[in-house]
């Protein structure tokens, strides 16, 4: 009987520091034994638990797209586990459990425009989604892809070299914005994500909106999407609650009767409307 609590062994291939404060790092993990790769099939939007023996476990959104060779996680140093993880260099081993949760609704995207709204360092699963959607076999049956990604300052933007290329990519209308420009050579819009979204004003009919960011950003993005004409079942949110097991047993991540780890983390806004605002 397989035990969902046993992590599979992974090895850190590469660690890239994402911001000047050095408290955001991206870890590229490789499977120690290739056989584990088969039963780790995931879709962008899902998450996994990283495990360090004796330190603990924590859930993180998978930042790499399924077609990429390594499994990417971007982690901010906030507590005991993330500090221990940040002290690890390439070559170190750690455990990974997953993939858990559902994914973004790729099955309803063909033939429609896609609007991606993201803020802060939760751009991880949406980065995976964009990379996945830009694959030729996915891109061709999609309409316009608009992505709005905001951060506090240019230094805090994740995957800088990648998003520079994406800015030039004709298949994707990427708008980067920062709360305050501090000079840098990188021209971006200045302003908060919800305002920039209103400015960009993507068309709502036949479109799907994917939103992921801190609770405060989600709170102010909804009215703007509503203004632009997005109906609740067109908007999908990736939520983040405290999680301890990932398989819907420990009870921590509940929003009303639903568990974010099992029934989410991606919910349509229509679903959330008849759930208590406990996220």
């Amino acid at each position: 009987m397989n035990n969902p609590y046993i992590p599979i062994q992974m090895r850190i291939e590469r660690v890239t520091v994402e911001n000047d404060a050095r408290d955001l790092k991206t870890f590229d993990l490789a499977f120690v034994n290739e056989s584990d790769r088969e039963n780790f099939k995931f879709i962008p939007g899902q998450f996994a638990f990283l495990s360090i023996p004796g330190v603990g476990e924590a859930p993180f959104g998978i930042a790499s797209a399924p077609h990429e060779p390594v499994i990417k996680f971007t982690v901010k140093r906030v507590g005991v586990f993330t500090t221990a993880l940040h002290e690890m260099e390439a070559g170190a081993g750690l455990g990974m459990r997953g993939p858990w949760g559902n994914s973004y609704p790729f099955e309803i995207m063909p033939g429609r425009d896609v609007v991606i709204v993201s803020g802060g360092f939760s751009f991880t699963t949406l980065r995976a989604t964009i990379a996945h959607l830009l694959l030729p076999e996915n891109r061709r049956n999609l309409g316009k892809i608009t992505a709005i990604y905001g951060a506090r300052s240019p230094g805090e933007l994740l995957y800088k070299d990648e998003i520079r290329q994406w800015e030039q990519n004709p298949d994707l209308h990427l708008v980067l914005c920062v709360d305050r420009l501090n000079g840098g050579d990188w021209p971006q819009k200045e302003g908060l994500v919800p305002n920039v979204l209103r400015e960009v004003g993507p068309k709502a009919d036949n479109a799907v909106a994917l939103v992921c960011g801190p609770p405060i950003m989600i709170k102010y993005t909804h009215p703007v999407l509503k203004e632009l004409g997005f109906k609740p079942d067109q908007v999908y949110l990736s939520l983040e609650n405290r999680m301890k097991c990932g398989i819907g047993k420990c009870g921590h991540c509940n929003i009303g009767p639903k568990y974010v780890c099992k029934d989410g983390p991606v919910f349509s806004y229509a679903q959330l409307l008849n759930l208590p605002a406990e996220y």
């Binding site: 009987m1 397989n2 035990n3 969902p4 609590y5 046993i6 992590p7 062994q9 495990s51 360090i52 023996p53 004796g54 330190v55 603990g56 476990e57 924590a58 906030v78 507590g79 993330t82 081993g93 750690l94 455990g95 801190p214 609770p215 983040e240 609650n241 405290r242 301890k244 097991c245 398989i247 819907g248 047993k249 420990c250 009870g251 921590h252 991540c253 509940n254 929003i255 009303g256 009767p257 639903k258 099992k262 008849n274 208590p276 605002a277 406990e278 996220y279």
Partner: protein, 339 residues
């Protein structure tokens, strides 16, 4: 499956035979009442108390359990399999609670291996209630002091003998050689059943709860209902169907292991994010979460109300809160708003 009868001596011998083979847990005498204990012989068993102080939850889902041990190179090693154990003298509400926990931990393809392993190694022999306590309200939720859900064998004390009703092959094998029950025994049991059921008066209208509780979520009544609640974990830890747990790692002198320990949605940091954001920072939200989970959320998740009416959360609450009154206030509130 044949109902049989078993005398007190035969029952004592049955237990003493079991004790040689497996660990037998049963209610034993404690300061003011009874509580679970491992018994060495039948005469240590004490069935006079209406129910044990703690529920039988700990046998299936222990308060602290090692789930993984890490060897020197950091590989995770599963702990050994649990031994065979017999839980004797469990009351119908607690047995139903074990069934609720089983359904929760093994639902929808994501089975918890530790609870599953214990389930397979557990024999449950229940004893029907012939007396009730002021806090008992199993009947109010449609259960009964004589129900046998979650049991392998249900015993009913008829006075001179016990009526033994098997509910699984394991149970049937256990009482195979005994004399068969006659009609008079079954009549005596029904008579006892009606008498004890008459002692529980209140009824909770569970269907109206299911329809109306979702609408009650943002109602200000919760603020007032939760004022006396001090958000301790007593009710959740003593509740036979509360299943929340925390996972924590501990390293002592070099060897580290991962543990699963009981947690409570009443604790302030239970739902706090790493960023510090806490969706249920307000004590009233946490009290609401427990009542909603017992009477509404689990009906959505598993199609049954997870409260079994054992009354422990009522007797143990330091603030004297009665969950029946909370539910009654909610229902009366629904009436007033509906008019």
């Amino acid at each position: 499956m044949k109902n049989r009868i078993i005398s007190r001596d035969e029952l004592a011998q049955l237990i003493d035979r079991l004790v040689e083979r497996v660990d037998v847990y049963a209610p034993v005498r404690e300061k003011n009442g009874a509580n679970w204990g491992k018994v060495g012989s039948a005469n240590e068993i004490y069935l006079e108390a209406v129910n044990t102080h703690e529920p039988a939850k700990g046998f299936l889902f222990p308060r602290c359990e090692m789930i993984l041990k890490f060897d020197q190179s950091g590989n995770a090693v599963e702990p050994g399999l649990p031994q065979e154990q017999v839980v004797f003298g469990i009351r119908p509400c607690d047995a139903r609670a074990l069934m609720v926990l089983e359904r929760f931990f093994t639902s929808e393809g994501k089975t918890d291996p530790y609870v599953q392993a214990r389930l397979e190694k557990m024999t449950i022999i229940g004893v029907a209630c012939n007396r009730t306590a002021p806090a008992c309200f199993c009947l109010a939720l449609g259960n009964s002091p004589h129900s046998s859900e979650g049991m392998d064998v249900l015993l009913t004390d008829l006075g001179d003998v016990f009526l033994a009703e098997p509910r699984s092959e394991k149970g049937e094998k256990l009482i195979a050689g005994l004399a068969e029950a006659e009609v008079k025994h079954l009549e005596r049991r029904t008579e006892l059943k009606e008498r004890v059921e008459s002692e529980i008066t209140g009824r909770i209208d569970t269907t109206r709860l299911k329809e109306n509780l979702p609408k009650m979520f943002d109602d200000p009544v919760w603020e007032r209902l939760s004022l006396p609640c001090i958000n301790c974990g007593a009710c959740t830890f003593l509740c036979p169907t509360c299943h929340c747990f925390d996972v924590t790692d501990e390293t002592v002198r070099g060897n580290s292991a991962r543990y699963r320990v009981w947690d409570s949605c009443q604790f302030a940091l239970y739902s706090r994010h790493a960023s510090g954001h806490n969706p249920r920072f307000n004590p009233a939200f946490r009290y609401r979460n427990r009542v909603m989970d017992k009477f509404y959320y689990t009906t959505e998740q598993m199609g049954l109300i997870s409260c079994v009416g054992c009354g422990r959360c009522i007797t143990v609450c330091p603030a004297g809160i009665d969950i029946r009154q909370t539910v009654a206030t909610l229902l009366s509130f629904i009436d007033s708003t509906e008019r």
